[in-house]
Amino acid sequence: MTTKYTPDHEYIRVEGSTGIVGITQYAQEQLGDIVFVELPAIGKVLKKGDEAAVVESVKAASEIYAPVAGTVTEVNEALGGEPGLINQAPDSTGWIYKIAIADTAELDALLDDAAYADLTK
């Protein structure tokens, strides 16, 4: 199980051919209190870089892009009632959606832990 990052602060945790996508701890801190999450439709086909979801704080709306191409297989319905999960635990209970990865080779272009840590220094 590996986790990769985009320069736009999404993470994708890879479990076999499925990726779990959310925003990073750093992004969560920058955005402040999340008040609403617009989730993608299950079955939605995404290209790398497509807008997949939107997270809103009081004063900002931020698009969440697809780190890799694929199909949305599951969304975190719990965020509907409790968007603050993203603030509390962005990398566990605050995940946003799961994607069936079309081409795992696309993962290679993403940042690893060290590179992402470097980016947010």
Binding site: D33, V35, F36, E56, V58, P83, G84
Partner: protein, 517 residues
């Protein structure tokens, strides 16, 4: 000596340690909601209770209870007067909101707008019975076209954003008529008002941002680089949202026209240049004018406004209906689109109430007074900039600003105080905060627009307070800022809570379950 032994003690005396008031302070009451003081039986209007024989309501009579709370007149007066006291207003203090032009609202305007010949006429009564109203619209149009040196004006837009929409619709219509409907890109500088990209996107255009130069203005070269046969228009605010006149605006207009595109100018900041610079001389094709900013119609807590759009000769044929036209027999109201005109963008003639106020204001000032007002607005902003630039940080160097003074938050670096905290501390000093975090191109922006209405005395008091706050912030007195406001009717409000589980109307409290006795 004679002594009044009924005299009151004038010292502080022993007032005790204070208590938590639940009803607000003496002159700033906590006012319950209308629904908590009124009920469905009380009414402040006497109306005969008629009976209807043979209703013609077709069986659609109301069954759902209305449940609307009513108040008698004395109760209503008190409710709304008490509520009003919780508002800051221009009349009660300086309101230096950048981009909003919070100038004095003359009361003659209000009186004139209430004349029955303006307030009590119907938009669809025969045109022969409203010749004075059409004449008023014609006179207002003349002033607006003269001040901008343009060929036409569409009065009907209901607000600035509505004017933008109309202006961009006219551009689209003109390009469609010229077989140029492939043009699908609109250039918008990053410093623009949010309404600009929203308007362009609303009409199906792709928005292409133009970066700001380090000096806060738009680079003609950046515009040239972005122009292509697919560009429909540029939407440029001038003076721009950083309070600066775009020095290359004429070159930008020429480049835009050369590429077959139109120049839409956001006229939100026209107050800086009215009577001094005519936008038509700069090459604009369309520009909305916020009557509720530049021409002093009141903001009313969020509206109504009016956003007439002046149009160049190229766009004039695409103006919407209705509009006033002179004929041999007087003035007529053209209500149906002829040729390529784009139709109707609101049900009736637009904001007549605002037209009356704006024309009253124009006649009061005259051409000379409007130019003087613009010059005073610019003078005031430069005065604030000059007085504060040492204690604050100026993002774009040492040259004259227009009607707004812009600072960034670098002077607060390391203090733990943010622009928001600073603004909230200003509330405790009796001033409305400046516009914050806009324009987006400046970090922690503080945009101050004093307008021409403020006296030198008020400006000095404002600058003294600003300076004192800056010194205090730098001295490490962070708490004064982060806790602010402490003296307002409310302290900071929990916006996260409001957005996460929105409560958007009053609900009758659920009957509490009866406890077992």
């Amino acid at each position: 000596m004679s002594m009044n032994n009924q005299g009151r003690p004038s010292g502080i005396g022993n007032v005790g340690s204070g208590f938590a008031s639940t009803s607000g302070s003496a002159l700033l009451p906590n006012e319950p909601l209308l629904f908590e003081i009124g009920d469905t039986e009380h009414s402040g209007v006497d109306l005969p209770d008629v009976t209807i024989s043979g209703s013609r309501l077709g069986g659609f009579e109301r069954k759902m209870p209305l449940d609307l709370a009513g108040l008698t007149e004395p109760e209503a007066m008190r409710h709304y007067v008490r509520l009003s006291r919780l508002n800051h207003s221009i009349d009660s203090g300086m309101y230096p909101l950048g981009s909003c032009t919070m100038k004095h609202n003359p009361r003659l305007n209000e009186k004139m707008a209430r004349l029955p010949g303006f307030a009590d006429i119907h938009p669809l009564q025969p045109v022969s019975t409203v010749q004075g109203a059409l004449e008023l619209m014609n006179q207002l149009s003349h002033w607006l076209m003269t001040l901008t040196n343009t060929a036409a004006v569409a009065l009907t837009p209901k607000a600035g954003a509505h004017g933008e929409l109309l202006g961009m619709m006219a551009i689209k219509a003109a390009q469609d008529a010229a077989g140029q409907s492939h043009r699908n890109i609109v250039l918008v500088p990053e410093s623009a008002h949010g309404t600009n990209p929203a308007t362009a996107a609303f009409l199906g255009y792709t928005v292409k941002p133009i970066p700001a130069r380090d000096d806060g203005t738009v680079d003609v070269q950046a515009v040239k680089d972005a122009l292509s046969p697919d560009v429909a228009a540029i939407m440029l605010t001038n003076p721009n949202t950083c309070g600066l006149f775009e020095p290359q605006v004429i070159e930008i207009a020429e480049a835009v026209h050369q590429a077959g595109a139109f120049f839409y100018c956001d006229g939100a900041n026209f107050n800086a240049i009215m009577g001094v610079v005519r936008p038509g001389d700069l090459g604009i094709d369309a520009m909305h004018i916020n009557l509720h900013k530049t021409f002093s119609t009141p903001h009313g807590g969020g509206g109504p406004g009016a956003g007439p759009v002046v149009l160049s000769a190229a766009l004039a044929p695409f103006a919407p209906v209705p509009f006033v036209r002179k004929t041999a027999d007087g003035l007529e109201l053209v209500e149906h689109a002829e040729g390529e005109a784009l139709g109707r963008i609101t049900a009736f003639q637009g904001q007549m109430g605002m037209y009356v106020r704006a024309l009253t204001y124009m006649l009061s000032h005259g051409g000379d007074g409007l130019a003087q007002a613009a010059e005073d607005a610019v003078l005031n902003a430069n005065y604030i900039k000059a007085r504060l630039q040492h204690a604050f940080s100026v993002p774009f160097g040492d040259y004259p600003t227009m009607h707004e003074a812009l600072f960034d938050d670098s002077f607060l670096a390391g203090t733990g105080v943010t622009t928001l905290d600073f603004a909230k501390a200003l509330i405790d000093e009796g001033f409305h905060p400046m516009t914050m975090y806009f324009p987006l191109v400046v970090h922690g922006a503080m945009l101050i627009e004093p307008t021409e209405s403020e006296s030198k005395q008020t400006l000095d008091r404002f600058c003294d307070v600003m300076e004192e706050l800056a010194i205090d912030a730098k001295a490490g007195n962070k708490d004064r800022f982060t806790a602010a406001p402490l003296k307002a009717p409310r302290r900071r409000l929990d916006e996260t809570r409001a957005a996460r589980s929105p409560i958007l109307k009053w609900e009758r409290p659920d009957a509490l379950p009866k406890a077992a006795e």
